[in-house]
Symmetry: C2
Subunit: 324 residues, 2 copies
């Protein structure tokens, strides 16, 4: 899959600009949040960690696997890479503070493409309250974006996958199934409806809902990156509990229903198994806070995820990038 190009006579490639030129061009003139104590340009950045701890995670996105430049603009690719990581920070109950970006790409990649990816990373970081504080770029045959996100727990314990207890309710914040529906549309060669396709291009994780859930006493939390049932499976396994999802509680948005009808897919399948929306799903001992929707309950037993009391039989519950 080639990277998008500008006309040859205008082409400025990474090879021509050089590593240091690119780094200067993408870091100049950016506004850092207060948590950035020392920004890009030295051997390392310094980021505030006010309570003496830092939350950290890394996600890798590969061209042709996680995104395609004929489906998404470079700016959308940058936003998506940032969102996947920032959502992981939120899923610990933390507030994102910083991103670091490892970029490998073909030496003939147009600099405006790289600048647009960086614009997207900055835009999504800013939406979550974070700054881009560092990174590195190197030549490779395929574009790879490895993003590390940092965050602050603001004095609270982290909300892990292992704390769900029998009697808890299961609740979700954010959209489910939209990115999967968008992928299904794009894979069939369509480019609309825009709202659904846009959900595949740029997820909209509910960043503030992570710390909100932690303050409300969430016992466990995860972001939905592989699919609701697959990710709840991680919670069930780590917590040693049974999670039962009620399929009747999902109100299917009109546009999702329309796409499902057009493609012959029950949209509840996308809701239960679609990844990449980066919704947050959490368990609470006594009701969910405002903005969260209760979708099920936790009970004792051999770890399992059920739908309406039974194993889900609608197909694979999630996916792995390396599955044969």
């Amino acid at each position: 899959m080639p990277t998008p190009s500008t006309p040859a006579e205008k082409k400025i490639t990474l090879a021509a600009l050089g590593e240091f030129g690119l780094i200067s061009s993408v870091t100049a003139g950016r506004t850092q949040p207060a948590s950035t104590l020392l920004g890009p340009g030295d051997d390392a950045a310094v980021v505030a960690a006010p309570d003496g701890r830092v939350v950290a995670c890394t996600d890798v996105l590969v061209e042709g696997v996680h995104f395609r430049f004929d489906w998404s603009s470079p700016e959308q690719v940058g936003r998506k890479a940032a969102a996947a990581n920032l959502a992981d920070v939120a899923a610990m109950g933390a507030v994102p503070t910083a991103l670091l970006v490892g970029l490998a790409c073909p030496a003939d990649t147009d600099v405006p493409v790289l600048q647009a990816i960086t614009d997207g990373l900055w835009a999504e970081a800013a939406a979550a309250g974070a700054g881009v504080v560092g990174g590195d770029v190197a030549a490779s045959s395929q574009l790879v974006l490895s993003v590390t996100a940092l965050g602050s727990l603001e004095g609270r314990p982290p909300v892990t996958r292992g704390g769900a207890r029998p009697g808890d309710v299961v609740a979700v914040a954010g959209r489910l199934g939209w990115a999967a529906a968008g992928w299904a549309v794009l894979a069939r060669g369509f480019r609309s409806p825009v709202a659904v396709v846009g959900a595949h291009r740029v997820p909209e994780p509910p960043y503030a809902a992570g710390p909100q859930a932690a303050r409300a006493g969430a016992t466990s939390m995860i972001d939905v990156s592989d699919g609701l049932l697959a990710d709840l499976g991680h919670v069930a396994g780590a917590s040693g509990v049974v999670i039962d999802v009620r399929s009747s509680v999902f109100s299917v948005a009109g546009r999702l229903a329309d796409v499902g009808q057009a493609l012959g897919v029950d949209p509840v399948h996308w809701i239960l198994t679609g990844g990449e929306d980066h919704a947050l799903v959490a368990t609470f001992p006594s009701g969910a806070p405002e903005g969260w929707t209760v979708i099920g309950s936790v009970s004792a037993g051999e770890p399992a995820v059920l739908v309406d009391g039974r194993p889900y039989e609608g197909g694979p519950a999630g996916w792995e990038h390396f599955s044969p």
Copy 2:
């Protein structure tokens, strides 16, 4: 450049094991340092940042650009990727605490190769006092390792590139020129002397010298990744000073001299321009601490790096990965 293989009948590939299987197999049974408050396996890790700040940096290494599997073992590749990042943390005057690893590689990569890379990352992290706290893996056409290192300043200000002042001495800790000599040997098809070739395969950054320099009042510091003169150029530019290196102070180790003679290269050229040893070079207002060697001085003037009072004319002073 193919990745190293085991015989076909024994082959376990990433595609067969899957992403989650690999992550389990490389994180199980590892001993984390006390700074790892929550290790791998959740949406994010939690790392101690005792003074309320965290140092963070990212470096990308690409197969065929930064390493070759016919020159280095997978374990050596892992060590080198970790060392490049841990040295950046040390160059801020900080103590490394954690690594996060973004790995992209072909789906048919042998799992033992990936485990050996991870062994190398763990070994080098442990040597610097840090743990591997997180990561992600994805399929790509070429092996890319993007490593993020975190560190603690232990209450001290960061030592940046911008603090060198006229009258300071310039001093170095660690080896210079060895990795470049090793590369020259390997590029000519030789595999010895082992000490020199080994320096290219696995650098030996003097991690403890970074915090030591900070405690001793270093005004600026950088790790030598692109070459001594090139990296001093960053210090001269950021500090607005002239740095003059005295070529007579370098004592050329016997094996480096031997290799220079065999290949017809003045080993001082490797010392001045060779990258990837990740020595630390710093400026001090009043003499260098024990274990550091004074190699020059800082004076006022238009930012420049001189050798024996003149611009260096021995060839390019460093390199960029994208130079045509």
